[in-house]
């Protein structure tokens, strides 16, 4: 009832921003989802603050889509509590939650026109047809599709279909908007533009958005915060920068950006920092509560410098196995005493030919991190 009156009052006031509902928070409290014996989501708790875009990131089968579908009410939690805007919605069906979703396949109704698709939400809520269509037209102009409303979805390009799906999800002005891998059906160039559009829309309308993707670059680009999932559990939560620069474990280090996992020895701690020896080199890094002894480090490919010529004393010498020229960058595979290394070098240089001996050095400020507990 509440929702219905909100919808119809909105229809009357038209585009005015004053009637907007406030964005709501989403909270999971120890939520578990089982399918028979398989546990798809295992004791997951998190909180999405109002107006934030939070990405659920992880490899396929990690439970991220199940988590998203539990927010939508398309799957019911086996255990735990789900709250949207401080209201317990654990047992509410999808139709009773104030949440909309943009599907991976867009799920546009193929037997309806673009306008009918977007007006579907209000019209099944009992809003008169004329008002429903007015609401739909407003959202269509918001996503820049005015003039295409008579077309059928199959007569639109992939990017346009995607925007119809967004308009349809926005039309009820939901408290929370969900995206399930929205860019996976677009080509690489379009992907970058659409993800920027989504981010812009989210910020200008101040929406709470949960966004599922398996593409770490996409996640880093659009998110306020990222929830990394692995094997049905949360591996780490944080801002993009925290995840990249301070990965909580080997999985996150490897999954967010590429990382060389090297072994080193923590010599001693000094205030917030620790001295770590890798091969012959000694680095000073934040200690992150690691104790003296053998430790593992995540070294980003661009935090390794290569120098042709003789190695200074105490340095590491490596041999180039393979060099790939990629335009803006050159990628090297290296053999060295500390293990094989993957190195990316930016800037215009002549590629170092394979077989050359090089001296290897690290730039700690560019992404070398101790991994606690590994």
């Amino acid at each position: 009832m509440n929702q219905m009156s909100a919808v119809s009052s909105l229809a009357l006031t038209g585009a005015s921003k004053t009637s907007r509902k406030v964005a709501a928070s989403v909270e999971f409290r120890n939520v578990t989802k089982r399918y028979g014996r398989v546990t798809a989501v295992d004791d997951v708790s998190f909180n999405i603050a109002p107006g934030q875009l939070v990405t659920l990131l992880g490899p396929s089968g990690c439970g991220k889509t199940t988590t998203l579908r539990m927010i939508a009410g398309l799957e019911m939690a086996s255990e735990g509590q789900i709250l949207i805007g401080d209201r317990d919605v654990t047992n509410l069906s999808a139709a009773d939650r104030d949440v909309s979703m943009v599907f991976q396949s867009y799920a546009l109704f193929p037997h309806m026109s673009v306008l009918e698709n977007v007006a579907y939400g209000p019209s099944v809520q009992g809003v008169p047809k004329r008002d429903a269509q007015a609401m739909a037209m407003e959202k269509l102009s918001l996503v820049g599709l005015s003039g295409l409303e008579k077309r059928s979805p199959s007569e639109l390009s992939g990017g346009q279909q995607q925007r119809v799906a967004v308009a349809r999800a926005l039309v009820l002005e939901p408290q929370v908007l969900l995206f399930d891998e929205p860019l996976s059906n677009l080509d690489a160039k379009l992907r970058r533009r659409v993800r920027e559009d989504i981010r812009e829309l989210q910020q200008s309308l101040n929406l709470t958005v949960a966004y599922v993707t398996h593409d770490q670059e996409e996640a880093l680009a659009v998110s306020d915060r990222i929830i990394v999932m692995s094997n049905a559990r949360i591996a780490q939560t944080g801002t993009p920068r925290e995840l990249y620069e301070e990965p909580a474990d080997l999985f996150v280090a490897d999954f967010i950006g590429d990382a060389n996992i090297l072994e080193g020895i923590l010599l001693d701690r000094e205030g917030p920092n620790a001295r770590v020896r890798i091969g012959g080199a000694i680095l000073t890094l934040p200690h992150r509560n690691a104790n003296a002894g053998p430790v593992k480090l995540a070294v980003r490919p661009d935090a390794i410098f290569l120098e042709e010529g003789p190695t200074p004393s105490g340095g590491i010498t490596g041999t180039v196995k393979k060099a790939s020229y990629l335009g803006t960058q050159i990628e090297y595979d290296l053999e060295s005493p500390v293990g094989s290394l993957f190195v990316v070098q930016y800037g215009r240089k002549e590629p170092i030919p394979p077989g050359t001996a090089v001296s290897v050095s690290f730039a700690p400020q560019r992404g070398v991190a101790l991994i606690p507990g590994a």
Binding site: L74, R97, M101, F103, S105, Y120, E155, S157, G158, Q161
Partner: protein, 729 residues
């Protein structure tokens, strides 16, 4: 509490206190007062039918949630009242029959004969239905199926219908097979009947005597399965892999037998090869070959079943042949395999599941076929005809019919089990989501030649058969007197102008109207239940789903004769006494043809991206609205398919209905079979032609009424790709 729940509570009371509890005594027309209150369960209960009074208790329990809909205990009251009500109705229904107590224990305890009652009527049905629905509402309120009353009620209704119209008759036939004439448990009698020499005897191997009917049936089934598979493959290869000029004709020929009543082909064979058949006459006059009765027996049944079931194999195999991705064959060719090697090592193995499918379908169809063996069988007896004669013949031995039915049922279920066990685990995915460009390999010469040599003579033969059917109705007597005449049509379909208007005096009108009425009633019911079941199976998750699926498909595996026998055994006595009514015919068709609706529904639904439903749900539409506005419009092809199929099957079926027809509800097919047995071939053929034309008209009308599904520009490819996909800009 929702208004629907309240409505069903009211309906439950109406069924108990207003409508007549028992079925009508058709001899006396009831007066209005009798109809409305006088014979209701409540009044009868107070007048002495005390066993109806306990049902008042659950109805009173329902008043509690109706008066105080506070919600907290609503689910518990509804569930409790529903279960109690259904139990009470079942117990009183099954323990008290037409002749008093039905169970020996009750007889001994309360003394014979005890109270009597007739079969349930509208009132009982309505009350039972409302108990069932309220039980489902209660379960939904307890959180079953995500609390969706539409889903729980649909599951409840479908399950109840399947129990009543599939499991109940089948278990009755089992009970009847294991009992003696008076219904006592007699396993030794069963073993004696089961191992009878007339069923399993192998005398034909050693001497001139006949083999057991079970071996006859199996032998015929395997022969027909081989024949239809080989012919179907030849047709399918020609239709897909050659540049044969008359492919369109092949398509038409594949549809024709579907709308031909099954025994009509047997009839045409008699007119062609019988003692006075057209071809026999020519052979006698030109070459002096004596007329004989060779067509009656195994050859006739075999040929007629080949003609009737080859199109089914063709339809199965053409899908399989088309589904083989050309890239696989191209891959084989780029690896230097010659076209013959490619065909043998790649194409043929990929067709294996399709071939097995066609084989088993041919086998099962042959086993279940009743019309052709009846018309052409002669001394070659098969199980389906034997069952019929055990029931209607001089023996009147229902126990024997039940035993034979169990054997036949065992064969068909065994075939389905084999198919499932063998094919179920193998993966032969040849259609992938990636677009295959590529040109199918042209057939190797020897395969093409073999296909042409089998298919073309066969096609010509089929054309001759249909020419006979077409001509047969318009000449005086095939084979003897070719004078053109309309006599047959006039006898069957004469319409006279009388003082009070038109008078349908033709002898066929009665059965014709009954058939059209039953077919028109059962087609929409079949489609509705079938598609609803398909929706529940593909779009919902609930415990017991596998058992549910098995139950819905079971009736497909049961041969028509077995269904017929089981229906007369189960529904001839209270509590459900519906033999002789049109209703039993309708229900029989609904549950025999429902699996096709389920299958086509599942096939279409699995092509429709599930996220369409989910999108609708997240936009605030409930499952009923989603079904109405999203699922049904996209299901149009499946709706047409199941409407057409069930209508056509209801018009052409013989095997089950021949047990269930009465003078009032005679069906066209049984009438025609009667004419054939009386030797009036011309009339039979004429009537069959009319039926074929009516079915063609009905198919066109259904197509027109349901309409096409609109999918925008790319509708041509919509059947292969998930509907909600993209294209690059």
């Amino acid at each position: 509490m929702s208004r629907a729940t309240l409505g069903w509570i009211v309906l439950g009371w109406i069924g108990y206190a207003v409508l007549p509890w028992y079925g009508f005594d058709r001899a006396v027309a009831p007066t209005l007062s009798e109809f409305v209150i006088g014979r209701s369960g409540l009044v009868l209960g107070l007048k002495g039918a005390w066993w109806l009074l306990p049902i008042l208790l659950p109805l009173l329990m329902l008043l509690r949630p109706a008066l105080r809909p506070d919600g907290a205990l609503l689910a518990r009251w509804l569930t409790g009242a529903g279960i109690l009500g259904l139990l009470l109705i079942l117990i009183q229904g099954f323990s008290i029959g037409l002749n008093g107590w039905t169970l020996d224990g009750l007889k001994a305890f309360f003394g014979e004969p005890g109270p009597r009652q007739a079969g349930m009527g509208y009132g009982a049905a309505l009350t039972a239905a409302s108990f069932l629905i309220l039980l489902c509402h209660g379960l939904a309120a307890r959180g079953w199926c995500r609390g969706d009353t539409f889903v729980t009620s649909s599951i409840g209704v479908v399950v109840a219908l399947i129990i009543v119209f599939v499991f109940f008759p089948v278990s009755t036939i089992l009970a009847s097979a294991f009992g003696d004439d008076r219904g006592n448990f007699a396993p030794s009698l069963f073993i004696a009947k089961f191992t009878d020499r007339s069923i399993w005897g192998l005398d034909c191997l050693t001497g001139d005597l006949r083999c057991g009917v079970a071996w006859n049936t199996l032998f015929l089934g395997i022969l027909v399965a081989f024949g239809t598979t080989a012919l179907g493959l030849a047709f399918a290869l020609i239709a897909t892999r050659t540049t044969f000029r008359f492919k369109k004709l092949l398509r038409v020929m594949s549809v024709l037998p579907i709308i031909t009543p099954p025994f009509v082909i047997g009839l045409a064979l008699i007119l062609l090869f019988g003692r006075s058949g057209a071809l026999s006459a020519i052979l006698y006059e030109w070459f002096g070959i004596p007329r004989s009765r060779w067509i009656y027996g195994l050859p006739g049944v075999f040929i007629s079943q080949l003609l009737a079931f080859t199109p089914i194999a063709f339809l199965v195999l053409i899908g399989v042949v088309q589904g083989i991705s050309p890239t696989l064959e191209e891959a084989s060719q780029t690896l230097r395999a010659k076209s013959w090697t490619t065909f043998v090592t790649v194409t043929l193995p990929l067709m294996r599941p399709g071939l097995a499918n066609a084989f088993l379908l041919g086998f099962v169809e042959s086993l279940a076929d009743f019309g052709n063996p009846l018309v052409l069988g002669g001394n070659y007896e098969v199980l389906s005809t034997k069952i019929f004669f055990a029931v209607v013949g001089a023996q009147q031995d229902q126990g024997r019919a039940a035993v034979l039915s169990i054997i036949l049922l065992g064969f068909t279920l065994g075939a389905f089990w084999l198919q499932h066990a063998w094919l179920g685990k193998k993966v032969y995915t040849t259609v992938t989501g990636k677009g295959d460009a590529g040109i199918p390999l042209p057939l190797p010469r020897r395969v093409a030649l073999a296909s042409y040599l089998t298919a073309i003579p066969w096609a010509l033969f089929t054309i001759v058969i249909y020419a006979i059917i077409l001509v047969g109705g318009f000449v005086r007597s095939m084979g003897r007197d070719y004078t053109p005449t309309l006599d047959h049509f006039l006898t069957a379909f004469r319409v006279e102008r009388a003082e009070w208007g038109l008078y349908f005096s033709g002898s066929a009108w009665n059965s014709f109207f009954a058939t059209v009425k039953v077919a028109a009633l059962s087609a929409p019911l079949t489609a509705a239940i079938g598609l609803l079941t398909a929706y529940l199976l593909t779009r919902q998750r609930f415990s017991g789903q596998r058992a549910f699926e098995f139950g819905t498909l079971l009736s497909f595996a049961i041969p028509g004769t077995v269904v017929g026998v089981s229906y007369i055994l189960a529904f001839n006595v209270p509590p459900i006494e519906i033999t002789g009514t049109g209703f039993i015919l309708v229900m029989c068709f609904v549950f025999r043809n429902m699996p096709v609706g389920v299958r086509s529904g599942i096939a279409t639904l699995s092509q429709i991206d599930k996220s369409l439903d989910e999108a609708s749900l997240t936009l605030g539409a409930r499952s009923f609205t989603t079904m109405r506005r999203i699922v049904l419009p996209l299901l149009r092809p499946a709706i047409v398919a199941s409407l057409v199929y069930s209508f056509v099957r209801a018009m052409t079926a013989v095997s089950a209905v021949i047990f269930l027809v009465t003078a009032e509800y005679n069906m066209a097919t049984t009438y025609i079979v009667g004419r054939v047995e009386a030797g009036e071939f011309g009339l039979a053929i004429a009537y069959s032609t009319v039926l074929i034309v009516v079915m063609l008209l009905a198919i066109v009308a259904i197509q027109f009424a349901v309409g096409e599904r609109r999918l925008g520009r790319r509708s041509a490819t919509a059947s292969t790709a998930p509907l909600a996909v993209q294209a690059t800009p």
